[in-house]
């Protein structure tokens, strides 16, 4: 890429940009395209979209603001960024809602055409923020995006609406210029996306180019920035990936690598619906999908498929998980494999449907009637959703157990550059099915569905259609081995213990826990799920300053990794940051009887690494 550098260029290690505007302003698209340009500039990055729950909130209002944050750098990037360097605000509401996220001295790039009396009223600004001193301490760049876009599009004789919809391209072009990102890939992307509408391609690329050129010529912007390629990314081919997308790819990997067909059944629910959208396009991988009539039907269809020898998978969010619980208990009792993906969102009840939270851990672990343990896993980054989906399916079919995989809204919608795995490195699945009778009754070979494997304690999975293995299972307690209905008191006691022991034995599958930092020290941070980036950024930062802190991040929550007690012995204090009111902390206290200190944030937003740093500092200095 050739940069016609005419203005001074300042080099930066990392930058956080927040694109914010009305939900109709195309901020998600702008953000995604900027992300692509950034990925192609070989920076490490993390993104976080933040959109309103309403599909089309009234224009110009604060609750209609849609935002997209990207953090990129030449060093390792763990989070979408704590404080924003540049806020692009397309209207007063976007400025009002997001100003507090901008660091002192940060830059505000605002659409000056959108600050009329009516716009200010809609955002409930009683005074013009440009005039009342509230923006002092920020560098304000006012650009008449609307006017400039209209000018650029004058030759086309377009209607106002179409031109308005293109002004985000002006902002994008300008931002690409400001951060020395290449413009060509975006032009290519637009050309691909609207291949059938040449005029749309032309007007978008024209405005994009005008935005870029504006940077060159305007006197309002004196410097541009350069963020050098990251040297820390491992070699290989990368793509950008969202958590939900990664789950769909994980299922494709299961269908491809495992000796197993997959059926995905789901009921639309935010923020999990995207999984269904993606998986329904994977029919040529042999994955069937059912959009069920409700959450219970979805898990029922998945269990029905598993009974039929096709791995049943269902995806949902917290309220849906609650509805599925009785059926998950049936899968516990009948010991059928089942994978339930819970993309957690703010709760309880409808809660904050588009915001993130980690408050379903206890529900996943304990939310069923009776003694009904299941395997619980949690993905820690968008890309990790791929591996954990694969692992969930592998464990479910090997141990004949439901597995709940927890992700969250932040992982589902956030994106990161992802090193594309070599498919050969995925642990293949053995064919899990039995084909021969396993018992003799009156000299006749027969099949007993509850005779267990001595290593895993899993019962055999017999596919209907296999002669000689006809058997009946169900939700009533079954006699050990033979599998007939049994109300025998001792048998029930024994079976409850066996099922628990079986889930516990999944510990055999858990790799050694990675420790970030030294294996001993003053404080250990114990995290799980989507908070990984914030924790690792905080801990790395404090270690550089000489603090004796380390971190572990749990992906296996039930059972917990077998090496944890040993790891805990190396530390004096334990901090458990969670986006909930203290859930993992309870599980850990229960199992290890140590003084785990909770640190919670329940705002529908991910942790900032500075928040975790603050808490660590408070603990180690006191």
């Amino acid at each position: 890429m050739e940069l016609a550098i005419q203005k001074p260029v300042t080099s930066l290690d990392e930058v956080t940009i927040l694109f914010a505007g009305d939900s109709g302003d195309g901020m998600q698209l702008t953000g995604t395209q900027f992300t692509l340009a950034t990925a192609l500039a070989l920076n490490d990055l993390a993104t976080l979209p933040d959109f309103p729950a309403e599909i089309r909130a009234p224009q110009g209002t604060t609750y209609g603001v849609s935002a997209f944050q990207i953090h990129f750098g030449s060093k390792d990037i763990h989070t979408p960024g704590d404080d924003v360097n540049l806020l692009v605000a397309m209207n007063p509401a976007a400025l009002k809602v997001n100003l507090h996220r901008v660091r002192k001295g940060g830059t505000l790039l605002v659409n000056s055409d959108a600050f009329g009396k009516r716009d200010l009223d809609l955002a409930k600004y009683t005074e013009n923020p440009f005039e009342n001193g509230s923006l002092d301490g920020f560098q304000v760049i006012k650009v008449p995006f609307t006017t400039l876009t209209y000018e650029a599009l004058k030759p086309y004789g377009l209607d106002k609406k179409t031109m308005d919809r293109t002004k985000n391209m002006f902002a994008l072009g300008l931002c690409l210029w400001m951060y020395s990102r290449p413009i060509e890939p975006i032009q290519k992307l637009i050309a691909q996306k609207f291949a059938k509408k040449p005029q749309i391609v032309e007007i978008n690329t024209t405005v994009l180019q005008k935005g870029w050129n504006y940077g060159e010529t305007t006197e309002a912007i004196a410097v541009r920035y350069l963020v050098k390629p990251s040297s820390q990314l491992p070699k290989g081919t990368y793509r950008s990936i969202h958590g939900n997308e990664a789950i769909a790819l994980g299922l494709a990997a299961v269908a491809d690598r495992g000796d197993l067909d997959v059926l995905y059944a789901s009921y639309p629910i935010t923020p999990a619906s995207d999984i269904l959208h993606q998986v329904s396009g994977l029919k040529h991988f042999g994955i069937k999908t059912v959009q069920a009539e409700d959450e219970i039907a979805a898990v029922g269809a998945a269990i029905g498929a598993s009974f039929g020898g096709v791995l049943g998978v269902t995806g949902t969010s917290g309220p849906g998980l609650a509805l599925k619980m009785e059926a998950i208990g049936l899968a516990v009792m009948t010991e059928l494999p089942l994978v339930v993906v819970d993309v957690q969102r703010g709760g309880p009840s409808t809660g904050l449907p588009t915001k993130t939270e980690q408050a379903d851990l206890l529900q996943a672990m304990y939310g069923r009637n009776g003694e009904a343990p299941v395997c619980v896993l949690a993905a820690s980054t968008p890309g990790d959703c791929f591996y954990m989906t694969y692992e969930a399916c592998r464990i479910a079919s090997k141990y004949m157990t439901p597995v709940i995989l927890l992700t969250d809204g932040y992982l589902a919608n956030g994106a990161e550059p992802w090193l594309i795995p070599d498919v050969e490195t995925l642990r293949p699945f053995a064919s899990p099915f039995v084909t021969e009778p396993n018992a003799m009754v009156n000299n006749k070979a027969t099949f007993h569905p509850y005779v267990r494997d001595s290593e895993t304690l899993a019962r055999p999975w017999a596919k209907p259609g296999t002669p000689g293995l006809e058997h009946r299972i169900g939700g009533i307690e079954k006699a050990d081995g033979v599998g007939n209905v049994s109300y025998d008191p001792d048998n029930h006691h024994f079976m409850v213990k066996r099922r628990a022991e079986k889930v516990q034995r999944i510990q055999q599958e858990i790799p050694t826990t990675d420790i970030l930092g030294d294996p001993s020290g003053e404080l250990l941070v114990v995290g799980w799920g989507g908070t990984r980036g914030a924790i690792e950024a905080a801990v790395s930062n404090l270690r550089e300053k000489g603090l004796r802190v380390s971190a572990i991040h749990l992906r296996h929550l039930n059972p917990l990794p077998p090496d944890l007690s040993d790891i805990f012995k190396g530390f004096r204090q334990y901090l458990v940051p969670e986006l909930n009111n203290g859930q993992l902390v309870r599980v850990l206290r229960d199992q290890y009887l140590l003084n785990f200190i909770p640190y919670d944030k329940i705002q529908g937003q991910p942790f900032k690494s500075s928040e975790i740093e603050g808490k660590i500092l408070e603990m180690v200095s006191s």
């Binding site: 990925a39 192609l40 070989l42 992307l189 990314l233 491992p234 290989g236 081919t237 990368y238 793509r239 950008s240 790819l249 494709a252 990997a253 491809d256 067909d261 059926l263 059944a265 994977l282 029919k283 040529h284 991988f285 042999g286 069937k288 059912v290 069920a292 009539e293 219970i296 039907a297 979805a298 898990v299 029922g300 269809a301 998945a302 269990i303 029905g304 498929a305 598993s306 009974f307 039929g308 020898g309 096709v310 059926a327 049936l330 009948t334 594309i420 498919v423 209907p464 259609g465 296999t466 002669p467 000689g468 006809e470 058997h471 009946r472 299972i473 169900g474 939700g475 009533i476 209905v485």
Partner: protein, 359 residues
């Protein structure tokens, strides 16, 4: 009147994947009714109508030509739902009301299996009402036997969604207030493609209905009036006992006039209203009576709605429609996509979209 064994073959189309295995591919002797019995003690109350339904099912199974291992009985919760434990096939006793959901997953995943769903009035129409209507509209190729005893048996005698209004039960000491469902009408309303009604005390009729249900490609709903002799004894005796049966029961058959009371009475349409006419006294003849057409949704609607004491209660196959099944369509769509896109390559899927190299 009722002439069993000569059922018309309008909708008969071999179900997907049917394999004749009558002489047992796994070295079994020729299948008989006893081949389908299990060694489990049957735990229904002595005298319960469920025994007859089990016996008729076991009796017809050998005639269907489906090997035991390709057959799955699936149920929800309730007295009727114990049924799978007594069938020597694959079986799954699930949770209350959700059997249609499990069946949907099973049949979609494995369309070649022969799936039977056993349910009751509470299971199918109360807790599982939503799943039942969606099963019917999707039209999976399975058989649904709905044991209607108009009571909750397993929970010891509360009124059910099919109990008559005013019913005095443990939970309604002053009489129930709820208007009851007419299951066959519900099935028609949900666009079911095969709707029939039979009686526990008419083995031959039930066998014929079960065979017809099995032959139909689509969701076949057979409502069976079943006596719960413990909590609702005699609920259907007016239709099943010989003293009243001829007067109170109307057996409909495709292509035949609607007659009852040993041919002395018939059903005639006055506009859209069915009326009872006497062929002996009113000067009407057989030609004035409705000739039943099971492919007519309109007639089916009129007949299933004959539900009060002024009209005889109809039994038989009310409605048959040939509509593609969900499982078949899923299989076809999978095949279509496979043809169009070729077998998916995992490596190229993972590498799709914009990628970049880090050296």
């Amino acid at each position: 009147m009722q002439e069993n064994g000569k059922m018309p073959t309008l909708s008969e189309k071999p179900p997907v994947g049917r394999i004749f295995g009558g002489d047992g591919e796994n070295g079994e002797a020729k299948l008989t009714a006893s081949s389908f019995k299990t060694d489990q003690d049957i735990r229904w109350c002595p005298g319960c109508g469920d025994y007859s339904i089990l016996a008729q099912t076991q009796r017809i199974m050998p005639d269907l030509g489906i090997p035991r291992e390709k057959t799955v009985f699936l149920s929800g919760i309730g007295c009727s739902s114990r049924f799978p434990y007594y069938m020597n096939t694959y079986g799954f006793h699930s949770i209350h009301g959700r059997a249609p959901a499990f069946a949907t997953g099973l049949k979609t995943a494995r369309p070649e299996l022969d799936v039977w769903l056993i349910t009751g009035d509470g299971d199918a129409l109360s807790i599982g009402g939503n799943h039942l209507i969606h099963l019917l509209r999707r039209n999976l190729n399975i058989q649904v036997l709905l044991f209607n005893n108009q009571i909750y048996g397993l929970t010891k005698g509360q009124y059910s969604p099919t109990s008559e209004q005013g019913k005095v039960t443990k939970s309604t000491p002053y009489g129930s207030l709820d208007h009851p469902f007419n299951p066959s009408a519900v099935a028609l309303g949900a666009d079911g493609t095969f709707v029939a009604r039979s009686l526990d005390r008419d083995p031959k009729h039930m066998q014929a209905m079960l065979k017809r249900a099995h032959a139909h490609a689509g969701t076949s709903l057979v409502e069976v009036y079943q006596n719960c002799n413990i909590f609702n004894d005699g609920a259907f005796f007016e239709f099943t006992e010989s003293a009243s049966k001829p007067f109170r029961s109307l057996f409909v058959e495709h292509g035949k006039p609607l007659l009852f009371e040993n041919g002395k009475k018939g059903i005639r349409l006055e506009g859209l209203k069915p009326v009872v006419v006497s062929l002996e006294e009113d000067g009407f003849s057989v030609d004035d009576c409705i000739v039943y057409d099971e492919t007519s949704r309109e007639l089916a609607t009129i007949i299933t709605r004959m539900f009060d004491a002024t009209m005889p209660r109809p039994f038989g196959v009310f409605y048959v429609e040939n509509r593609p099944t969900y499982d078949q369509q899923v299989a076809e769509q999978m095949e279509e996509v496979l043809q169009k896109r070729g077998k998916g390559s995992l490596a190229s899927l993972l590498n799709s979209g914009d990628t970049w190299e880090v050296q």
